[in-house]
Symmetry: C2
Subunit: 462 residues, 2 copies
């Protein structure tokens, strides 16, 4: 059997899968600060209405526009690969498959949503998108998409990353993206921070505030904001990962997998693979579905399920999700994409329902797994992806102990070619184990206690 | 038609193609400094005998060992892609195909030879390979290969790159490679340079001297040296590129292409694609075959065809090739892989025979083409690769002018994700056109005039 299982373009999924149609309990609505459900119209200054419709949709299948597919064909369908070299090394009876999302030009799964976001914005008459970015993964994916769709892209990049990690900024510029260090003088929010502290390193919270302000304050009405994870329409767009993977498993005569794994920061690459299989689980299939997070940011495994803001500045609606508190500042672990205090409400709902069983892994085990991966399978993974690999290795070892021929599948969410500093820190012995102390969980509970409690609302006890 | 033309693993070529069997004029031998042909045995302290046999072989087809294929399957067969988005932008009747060698874990075509080199060394009982590297592309490819084959790898990396471009060094370490800054205290050659100039930035010439010394001076006899381009056995291993591409063109009903293009530094990625088609040209097919080099280092277009050393320290045999003189120091253009004074003798022979028609392009046109590529096809190419893209764009425009539906194919030799500083320099207006001045060509002729003259030998006028 080939190591690569390849779909032809004619077999690419033509519809996205929306798990909101199948959840046993309907989703709770996002709320304003006073506890009122948000209306779609109130989001209109931030997002175009066609994406807001997807955000609130409960249709099970939503057509992928032909023009979007024509852009995705640059790298999709993505290969499903079998990690036979790792299997052999582990001497496991398990079969390990991975969906390789690192093959997109920006190097991760992010363009699966940046492309439709840019396309729907253009369809709606929008001429410019704004966004924020930390290390630059999402900013480069949106610049890429806007370039191919033909609209402008303005990225507010956290200043310390802008200065210290210039490579992703240059990627954005190659794709015509306009990347500015945040805080900037372009927004009131940025100027306010700069007045108080001209030497601030910036933060993702400030960058979000600037990006939203830059969108809503454009008097022409031709600018909107784009978000790379967490929201329902992002999970929808990412479902192409799992829909392709299902077809590919069928091609090699596999039924449904026994274990589905993805690393989870905001939840989108995990959900992309997991949701189409979660549908089978809702319908009775026996599948273990595991979102993996770092022990330094254990949102799903330790964070309370409550209503919380998506950003530190409380500019977003309150969303029903597991959270470490919107003011939580995680340790600077190198898997930057997993350092988010909250999580996709759809993923959280699946955890609450018992459909997903989260795990938290330490960065030392993850880097060790990444090195084993590079020296068996050959490729260098993103630090985020190493969490999925480490969990897959755990499951493969368990299968060996149990003597079971399990089928494991995970998302290889991105390559690590822009993440050498993290590897360097690990290889030179500068990293150590880090588990979030219990006091921090207590602090999160304290932070959330005045917010509406999602769990209670869900169970009617509110 | 799909944008990606994919071969299954069962269709991978099982033999390499050796153009030495088909050249109209037999190759001239490498010589010692006094003009005596080198014997295979004299190379034995440097290379294992099984690779020396390939180096001097005139067999047309040489079996690829099963174990080598099993490693290559990690990324091969490589996709052939059609650049439909660029074609549309150029509004050309030409069809532009490109063989995507950027999909290997180290990100270029280099592992096509580093893997068999490491494998043949291990077969011969060798336990450690040494090599030199400039910016790190070859050093990382050999570290990768040694890791998968299971032998040690020691890389002497030019100090200024070691200090200023640490990312490739970290890649080597991820694959277990032992990378030291050159000049080092580990060799007599290195110590001599350091004694004279402790702050030297190093050079590729010094690093080659150290790597060869480290191989031949190991008293156990278990160490050999590996070279990433120029030599015949490297061209042999790279022929898998063109052999796959031929099958892929057949799959989509194309006959032979009209134009074959590759960028040429030492010649290996170009030859990998070009030699299998050169065989057809020798047999009468009408194909234009174009090696593309920078105007800053115009080896094939302006360098005399003579005998010259492969390195600045004159440690290699004299090889029959076009050369800008072994002491030539090119301008620091960002396509580091194209800054070599010499060229594969096999490629040079094809140029002398009129089978290949070299072009030299300026870096400004190449970066402009790379940006157009990123904004149409989507991916970010290596600065070296941009030379092939620029030449393909020229040919596609010519086809439009002539109203001819030509088929163009080129090697996409590597991605540019580790080359952001070059793009940054271009985007911020710090680069300019550079053509090697005529005085430099005169200097090369002066440098070469005391060497045996290859052209004369070839024509019997020596």
């Amino acid at each position: 059997m080939d190591h690569k299982i390849l779909l032809s373009e004619s077999d690419i999924p033509k519809k996205w899968y929306n798990i909101a149609a199948d959840l046993p309990t309907p989703m709770l609505p996002p709320l304003t600060a006073d506890g009122t459900p948000i209306s779609p119209e109130s989001l209109a200054p931030v997002f175009p209405m066609n994406l807001i419709e997807q955000e609130v949709s409960t249709e099970r299948w939503i057509d992928i526009p032909e023009e979007v597919l024509d852009i995705l064909y640059r790298w999709r369908p993505a290969p499903l690969r079998r990690a036979t070299y790792l299997e052999k090394y582990l001497d496991t009876p398990a079969k390990i498959y991975y969906k390789d999302e690192s093959v997109s030009p920006p190097g991760s799964h992010k363009p699966n949503t940046s492309v439709p976001q840019a396309w729907y914005n253009k369809q709606f008459g929008i001429e410019r998108m704004t966004t924020e970015t930390g290390a630059g993964q999402w900013g480069s994916a949106l610049s890429f998409a806007c370039s191919l769709v033909g609209i402008e892209c303005r990225v507010f990049m956290v200043r310390i990353s802008f200065d210290q990690k210039p490579f992703r900024k240059i990627m954005m510029q190659i794709w015509g993206g306009n990347c500015v260090a945040s805080p900037s003088t372009e927004t009131a929010a940025g100027r306010q921070v700069l007045d108080a502290n001209p030497d601030t390193p910036g933060s993702l919270g400030i960058a979000i505030s600037e990006a939203i302000e830059a969108a809503v304050s454009d008097q022409s009405g031709k600018t909107r904001y784009g978000l790379g994870s967490v929201l329902n329409h992002v999970m929808l767009h990412q479902s192409i990962i799992g829909l392709e993977a299902k077809k590919q498993l069928e091609m090699v005569g596999e039924g449904l997998p026994d274990v589905v794994i993805g690393c989870a920061g905001g939840g989108s690459n995990f959900a992309g693979l997991a949701f189409p299989f979660t549908q089978d689980k809702i319908n009775g299939a026996d599948i273990e579905i595991i979102p993996v997070e770092p022990t330094a940011c254990p949102t799903l495994t330790k964070g309370p399920f409550s209503y919380d803001y998506g950003d530190i500045a409380c500019m977003t609606p309150l969303m029903p999700m597991h959270s470490l508190g919107h003011s939580f500042i995680p340790e600077p672990i190198h898997a930057g994409g997993l350092r988010y205090h909250g999580m996709s409400p759809l993923v959280c709902q699946c955890v609450v329902e018992g459909l997903h069983t989260p795990q938290a892994l330490d960065q030392m085990e993850c880097y060790e797994s990444a090195l084993l991966w590079a020296r068996t399978e050959g490729s260098i993974c993103a630090p985020e992806t190493s969490h999925a690999i480490a969990a897959a290795i755990r499951e493969a070892k368990k299968a060996k102990e149990e003597g079971k021929e399990k089928t494991i599948i995970f998302t290889y969410s991105g390559h690590g070619l822009m993440d050498m500093t993290g590897y360097d820190a690990y290889l030179s012995g500068k990293l150590s184990e880090y588990h979030l102390p219990d006091e921090e969980i207590a602090r999160a509970e304290e932070c959330l206690k005045n917010h509406p409690q999602a769990e209670q609302r869900k169970t009617g006890k509110w």
